[in-house]
Symmetry: D2
Subunit: 365 residues, 4 copies
């Protein structure tokens, strides 16, 4: 299912960076949910280009339109089609780059995958712009998760370049993340990250980073071993976000150098309920939720568009050459990726909640 | 598809640690492949318990049996069912642990997922033993990949505990990996890893680590954006291997602290063909193969079975208690996980080669 | 996959009868096909309401809009979103019918399936109007089939009410079918059918009928046993067309009273190629194409909207009552269903041609 | 998913007529069901060859073996692998028929589909013998349906050759069907059917027929429009049974010649509940169950194996020739197909009950 993901909450993505629109069809959304369109719009606004000094100057209104699946403000159980129209499209530069693939971009692989028929303007189907669709589908998922189980999805920037944010309490995440343009809940680290980004931008370069995402209130017992694990489905969906190169759960790669006596999360009783005293496992054991926070970290590579000259080849002459990319791009995509990671996580968690029978196809039944 | 994975090369896993057998049904295997059963057996032997001082003393012959899908030694295009019977089963210990979930194991989540009906003996369906099935399906995939495209899948131990192996040339990987019990291609690191494992074992503890896997000769243009990316499908399948907690491609988490001018792999012409001068992207851009090595790293948490007393709870009384796990287990699962990671990678790569039309459903057509 | 069908050529349907639009996302359409939009429009026009004396007076332009997946007039391999806007919507009548389900319609089952949240105006998601989406997806499939293999899909009305058309040669089907409003290739039967429909309409009643569909030039060896048979996938998709109640292949139900010596299609050599001397099997054996014509017959129940008083119940009071349906509807849906049956057949055949590797994901590769 | 069917109750079939075994893996079976193995065996016995004068003399014990997924007699939620071993295999005749495809069999299409690699002995993967797997998966489904909702699946022979059974009350179906070798609930028709079969057999010929199947107690609101309709999924699965050529619901093909005022099933109130006064729709409207009996009719073509000389071709020389099939076969497959149709219907209904949330993944939750 190249452009569809999910088993019961199924998201089909369509649209291109410089085409008419970017959209999504959500099939399997529970019937009976009162759609909060303002919330969908607010989520889109968090992802929107041109929102701050550290993002691309491309300007798009990104106003959500609902084409189907909602009647009298309530989801009907039919497919929900939502889209945003593209407006501020500037395709002039892409003709000249047509045969010289930009390093780090998908230009060359798109050529090989689609035999030269791909829409190459602005990255076409490989552009980060398609994640506007993910955000609409994810916003809807967040609403259903919140309304049915009080499930909350919280993402934030945990690293940009060499600056890693210290762990902060969740309250601080809620309070601080949206208060700075890099979406880092630690104010000091946030300031350093912002400086780093502006410096990289001024030098015609770009930065990578990481987004951490936690999901609260997922009940224990959610996940479908052995192949549709919670980790596996989250990871698969997250690798559908452009620029993601690593996905970790709990202590992640740090587990390689730990001992079992240290990494095992002991069980204890708190308020009459079982919980784990630590969360090295990121809330998942055997592919199934433990009831602890789902914790994951997503690594984003640096934005491949840099203004420095880069070595590439001419695909027509098969000669080596050098290109310099101009145009509008984010010097660091991570801040705008935060709502995208949250959205993808929400889509997958809702799908699994439905698979486990914890969210019904008809709400209130 | 909980226990089935893949779109065209589809693997269905069945069996439990202490049940009658562990097996697999491979649906969609190309017709016309002469099955090399000795190779399948050799791969199983690499995964088999009891093979060295650093693995569990449980002894299983793990002799592959083919129940269907092969006629006159050649695959027919019908489902290939393969299994190994369980023999050395010792379930005595598991009754007493029935209500006190072992930290780091899936005991508690299995209880919550399957409502107490799960086969809890030896981890049941959550045991690493089920990966014997993955290895049979993966061995078949490796054969088809090698026969049709010379594709080679090479895995090795890149880290155990705090010992990380230095990068070594692929020739050395081929030559050295199977020469030591930890499957590390660097002899010096291998010796240190072995010492670490034995030390941890003697202290009643366990170690985590990492497996690196490279896939050679995958042509450019393989992968199905935007959701069935090569990375996403590899990651999803790899998280189906018990104990995996992180999956990285190329430079992985290190990309977070790189700059774009540094991380972008420049293109060049070598022998009249396009290639990248570096491989920070791990051979994948936009979810599609570049033609470079596919490179991935999988983090394994420490074996959750440790002989030290651990805090847990009694699920019947909801009181806190302490358990000590005895029994047979690997002090570090990583060396035996190497063929498993390779197998899973091979399954996914073959599936994607078929999706891309690079391997036909009938060989030689 | 409630609203998505197909494995490689995947069609996702969205929209409602009285919503904003009816549309479709086609994922997996081969890259490199020059889209003939006029042909898509012509197909829509064959299905359009208000086209003749025997169809509903609802008037819709049904002008196709392409939102994605086509660049410079050629398919890119990205999802193709196409839609038509709804314009002539008259929802006034449906409020009063809200709690008295119309016999033969899906009102009652929609209520039970979607818990009362369904869009009940004009049948909502259960309306025949959604097949406009099928026609767009099917037109695209027809084009690819014709361009790559000269495959032709020919449908026609074979029965309306008690009037069954005699078998006619394919040339006559091509020539005559579009020449009369009932789409029957036998002119005499066509006249009788038209009379029957007008008579039923004048009596406030409706008629059922059957559509026969043949597919020419499908090569032998297409189909995926044992569960994804050509017949099974065609039937499943055809039952997705509102009002279909039976699907037959070849001699169909008549095979029940035949003998094997009579029903078996003997093989012979014609022009150096194997073919069957008869086609009782409808071109499929063991779920796989034989190379003969694919022949299928689809039974449509009478339009459930009739102007006569009907017995039903009030769902709020659980009392029996009587309703009379006014409003615009087709006295017999069969003539307009012809392009729909063709479209669905084309979608499925293309999907199977792709699964069998007979149509590549990138044309011309 | 060629050899896997179902979304939540997923059945994977494997094995060949003359291979080692015929089996099935059921993934997604609810946890917590106490498996009644004797019932599974009894169902297999109804399908078993050699059970009466009107069936093939091939003798197979067909004793079910459970390889996984059941612990202490109860399903665990893990995949249930069940198989029967092949014993009475006589493959001698098939070598000589290797290059002369039998009319009406899948020999030729198998050759074209699998490039000559198929197991051609006894029809291999295309043999009716593989339905032993369907029966095991269906028996399990029947048990879960009965235990959770009192759902009953009743099949019977409604036609053999030109003899059609009159409609009989369900009590009579339950009482009479298993009392005669043709499984027809009308004793008089049964005697005539038996005579017809024996006559055809003695003349070296074979007969077709039809199986009717009703499903009782399916609640209203089950089915997943628009593409995963109850009819569509039932039909698709039924076409996976060898020799099926038509599937009808309710009045089926007879609806073509009815009027809407006649075919619409009026609603009424009985015992405070909504029901339909007739059932021309076969219990399905808009792809969703109405709460009435699900009624379907499946047409089986005559057994293609006849002892009369038949025209075919030599695939190596491309010359026309004549063959005479000897060997063991059923002169009419219909009586043994009754439990197969029931099983397939049960699999699909359970899958849809689970999709609708009416049967949970963990029973008793």
């Amino acid at each position: 299912m190249s452009n569809t993901i999910g088993r019961l909450y199924r998201v089909t993505s369509f649209g291109e960076s410089h085409g008419r629109c970017v959209g999504v069809v959500v099939d399997g959304c529970p019937a009976g949910h009162r759609l909060d369109l303002e919330h969908v719009q607010a989520e889109l606004d968090r992802r929107r280009p041109g929102q701050s000094s550290v993002s691309t100057p491309r300007r798009e209104d990104d106003k959500v339109e609902v084409l189907s699946g909602v009647f009298n403000g309530v989801t009907t159980g039919a497919p929900v089609c939502m889209l945003v129209w593209n407006r501020d499209v500037d395709s002039t530069r892409y003709e000249e780059l047509r045969w010289t693939p930009r390093p780090g971009h998908a230009d060359y692989t798109a050529e090989k995958r689609y035999g030269g028929h791909q829409d190459y303007r602005g990255g076409g189907r490989f552009s980060g712009r398609i994640t506007a669709g993910y955000v609409m589908a994810g916003a809807l998922a967040k609403q259903v998760l919140a309304a049915t189980h009080g499930i909350e999805v919280l993402g934030y920037t945990s690293q940009i370049g060499s600056t890693a944010a210290p762990d902060v309490p969740l309250d601080q995440v809620r309070e601080n993340t949206e208060r700075n343009p890099v979406r880092c809940p630690d104010p000091e680290a946030a300031r350093e990250m912002e400086r780093n980004i502006l410096k990289a931008r001024d030098e015609g370069d770009s930065l990578g980073g990481a987004v951490k995402c936690v999901v609260l209130n997922v009940p224990p017992g959610v996940g479908q071993p052995v192949f549709d694990t919670l980790e596996g489905d989250l990871a698969k969906a997250l690798f559908g976000v452009p620029a993601v190169k690593a996905v970790e759960f709990g202590a992640g790669t740090a587990l390689a150098s730990m001992r079992g006596s240290e990494s095992n999360d002991p069980y204890r009783i708190v308020g009459g309920r079982v919980e784990t005293a630590s969360n090295n496992m990121g809330g998942v054991l055997g592919g199934v939720s433990t009831g602890a926070l789902i914790e994951l970290t997503v690594t984003f590579k640096p934005t491949p568009s840099v203004s420095k000259p880069e070595k590439t080849v001419d695909l027509k002459t098969l000669k080596e050459t050098t290109i310099t990319i101009e145009g509008r791009h984010d010097p660091c995509i991570v801040p705008r990726a935060v709502p995208v990671v949250e959205s993808v996580a929400a889509m997958v968690i809702l799908d699994h909640m439905m698979q486990r029978g914890r969210v019904r196809q008809v709400l209130g039944e």
